[in-house]
């Protein structure tokens, strides 16, 4: 390659990288990107092949659980919801959804447990248990490729606003807000890692750091511990608000569960 051409290409790449990186404020719709694009090619390849993606091992478990009878009524998910590939398509893209009983949004894991206790009359799965994650992975996988819809449910509005306030508030020993990294500095590096925009398109994710599948709430707790802030409890109202906001913020992006993340 002639030096002139190489120099021009380098300049063009740097210009692209600079303009693609976040500037202060909310992410413009044209710049919205899944966390997938910020991963290395090797990690992307791991996610792309269903025979290599470790999250798929959990999907297999979830598929078995879907048909397993449980609870006082000896009922399986399949007894009411039949074929998950049809009945669950699009569900993960619409959650968290407002739950009238709790008066707040609930996420997919909470919804699964609600069915388990109310409909199957069985004991709820504990947070981050293999069974709950496997079922959530199986259900979420059915929405692969489906675009996340910005919720028009007016009951969710105050929670989305509350979630946004949490996202933009400085907190913890480092006095950092989520927005400062994920809205203002996505695409740039932090300790050698590229900062993603932080969209929950792939949950539950197989995080290589965990060597395991985990929920969005687990990841949010990790984020906050990393910021030296007090992490919210599993099933807390703050998590519900944050998840509702994050899904609203990710609208338009497609679900890619179960994702692999570094």
């Amino acid at each position: 390659m002639r030096p002139g051409l190489a120099g021009t290409l380098l300049a063009a790449t740097l210009l692209c990288a600079w303009t693609l990186a976040g500037t202060a404020g909310e992410i413009a719709p044209a710049d919205k990107r899944s966390d997938y694009v910020f991963m290395s090619r090797e990690t992307q390849a791991m996610q792309d092949d269903d025979l290599v993606n470790p999250g798929m091992l959990f999907v297999l478990d979830g598929e078995a659980l879907w048909s397993a009878k449980a609870g006082a009524d000896n009922r399986a998910c399949a007894d009411c919801h039949h074929d998950a590939t049809a009945s669950m398509r699009g569900v993960a893209a619409r959650y968290p959804a407002f739950d009238p009983e709790q008066g707040r949004p609930i996420d997919l894991e909470e919804r699964i447990n609600k069915c388990r206790t109310a409909r199957q009359r069985a004991t709820a799965f504990t947070w981050e248990s293999r069974e709950l994650l496997a079922l959530a992975a199986y259900v979420a996988k059915q929405s692969r490729g489906v675009a996340i819809e910005a919720s028009t449910d007016p009951r969710l509005r105050p929670f989305i606003d509350q979630g946004r306030a949490i996202f933009e508030r400085r907190q913890g020993q480092l006095n950092l807000s989520c927005a400062q990294c994920h809205d203002d500095n996505w695409g740039r590096k932090l300790a050698g890692n590229t900062v993603p925009q932080g969209h929950p398109t792939g949950y539950p994710v197989y995080r290589l750091e965990w060597q395991n599948l985990g929920s969005l709430q687990r990841r949010l707790r990790n984020c906050m511990s990393g910021m030296r802030a007090e992490a919210y409890a599993y099933g807390s109202a703050e998590h519900a608000a944050l998840e509702a906001y994050l899904m609203w913020r990710a609208s338009g992006l497609a679900i890619d569960a179960p994702a692999v993340r570094p």
Binding site: D50, L51, L208, Q211
Partner: protein
């Protein structure tokens, strides 16, 4: 039954190099970690994986604690005849699992 995802191509031409992939659900506990109270968590890993092709061994791997959880292995072999490709793995408890796949060679 331990979950595993196996990929053996169902068909191959005679003499073709085929890739076999296996992903096994296993915690691969190293034995170096400690629990919340400081108690050591005992080692529990898959230590051997063997692949046989119509009974003849074509691949063998020794795994050590450095291998991450849910180990993934990919290797190749030459398609010589139609038959059964068997994948067997053994863990520290001595329990072994075998998965059989059919391959048709034209």
């Amino acid at each position: 039954m331990v979950q595993a995802l196996i990929n053996v191509p169902p068909k191959a031409r005679l003499g073709e190099v085929v890739e076999i992939k296996v992903l096994i659900s296993h915690p691969m506990e190293t034995g170096y970690r400690r629990g919340n109270s400081g108690e050591p968590i005992p080692r529990d890993i898959i230590h051997t994986l063997v692949c046989t092709y119509n009974g003849e061994e074509v691949f063998r791997a020794e795994l050590h604690p450095a291998i991450a959880a849910n180990p993934f292995l990919a290797f190749s072999t030459v398609a010589t005849e139609s038959g059964v490709i068997a994948l067997t793995w053994i863990d520290d408890h001595g329990s072994s699992e075998t998965r059989l796949s059919n391959i048709t060679v034209e």
